[in-house]
Symmetry: C2
Subunit: 268 residues, 2 copies
């Protein structure tokens, strides 16, 4: 073994591995966001305040589930360790989920759900709009399909925010409370780190920091039109992208993974 | 007031009222079946053993929810007492729900869910196929749309029954257990009573007793192909069409109605 051969072999492979593992992590981040959001949204089926809204939230849940499947399936392929999208969804532990914490918070009030959807769908819309130009063909294709879906989600959340904010005293109070409860979890969506910065430099990923201005300017304009006051918070929760989650994540995973785990390897 | 006037007025009105209240009850029976089934199916979103199946069951839930909306909305219009589909879904008490008990049973195992879906979707398929010829234009139109949807549900349940029954020892055992657990609740679907018999005589409704043979012959053929043995039961639960429900119905309604009831009259 000579030095030349070593450097020839180790450099490109080392780089490819690092690049690949970064892509895996990136696809997991986006996929976990969608998966966990779908789970929370699905809980609304036949529990929303109107049957029409049950149908709407159910459709949103299914869109998100479709995005999750594509992204987790791609992460599994890249990883090359034989884990498909189902294994990634049902057999990872909490610390291995990379979704932002905002997605895992319990549904609470309908006002909270709408306030969260307004922020997250706007974030996803700005993200997928740009990710269509990714040099990674698979991510670009997923983004091209997803952007149309989250555009609808954003529109739905916008209509409800206006209706609740500009509605009765009670509905106004509840959407405002929802916005205040969501706010400490918003900043995490726009955090950058070495992983996304490096993938963004290669044109693969979109740096979330670049999404803050366009996303929050849209959200702020909706809140203003809904006669909701500017919200301030000095608390910013973070850690989801590194596998650190809230207490509520454990309950969500228990419900989501129970069936698959109670019969591991079962041929369904 | 003379005798002639009295008989002229009272007969047709009396008949119309009775006919109308029967139609209301009939639309509620069908609508409640769909609503309660949608609630149970929606619980599977992001909890099924595969993400692909989450999407499929979620879509089935949304089809059923759409059917429920149409039927409850029509029941409310006929009733003419100002109750819309949301009021009927969220503000009736357990004793006023007219669904067959099979729809309200807790999901339990995936095998149970598939066994139930096989029976109920086959029942609904045979029902809606015939109800397309109803002399009631609204019921005929609802049936024409619904029959295509439940045809797909039936096909989905059939594929899964074959796959589980003809799969591993474990999957075979579980679908068989599902069929056995479902069986005591099957006969109620095909029960006749004065209400449906009278509406069927007018060409408005389909008498469920006429559906037993075609529906069960289909179910039996699927079970045979899935290598599942004939199931026998001497227990037949009934009462749903008269508002008598299982313990599990209470928990389902609590979850479904909680939000709407915690803020009655709120402008969402």
């Amino acid at each position: 073994m000579n030095g030349f051969e070593l450097s020839e072999r180790s450099r490109p492979i080392g780089r490819m591995d690092s690049d690949k593992s970064q892509r895996v992590a990136y696809a997991l981040r986006l996929g976990d966001d969608a998966l966990i959001a779908a789970q929370r949204m699905g809980e609304w089926i036949a529990a929303a305040p109107q049957l029409e809204e049950d149908v709407a939230l159910g459709n949103i849940a299914l869109d998100l589930l479709g995005q999750a499947r594509s992204l987790l399936s791609y992460a599994g392929q890249l990883e090359g360790a034989g884990r498909d999208e189902d294994t990634l969804a049902y057999f990872r532990d909490e610390r291995d989920f990379l979704n932002a914490q905002i997605f895992e918070l319990a549904n609470g009030d309908f006002g909270f759900t709408i306030a969260r959807l307004l922020v997250t769908s706007t974030y996803q819309f700005e993200l997928y709009r740009r990710l269509q130009a990714s040099t990674d063909d698979t991510l670009a294709a997923v983004a091209a399909k997803a952007v149309k879906e989250v555009d609808y989600h954003r529109d739905h959340a916008t209509q409800w925010t206006l209706r609740l904010g500009d509605g009765t005293e009670e509905s106004h109070r509840r959407i405002q409370q929802g916005v205040e409860d969501v706010w400490p979890y918003v900043a995490e969506l726009f955090e950058s780190d070495d992983l996304v910065a490096s993938l963004a430099a290669e044109g693969i990923a979109v740096d979330p920091a670049t999404l803050r201005e366009p996303a929050m300017s849209y959200v702020d304009s909706v809140l203003a039109e809904a006669t909701l006051p500017q919200t301030e918070t000095s608390v910013h929760h973070t850690g989801g992208r590194r596998g650190i989650h809230t207490e509520q994540m454990g309950y969500l995973l228990a419900e989501m993974q129970h069936l698959a785990r109670s019969h591991p390897g079962a041929q369904w």
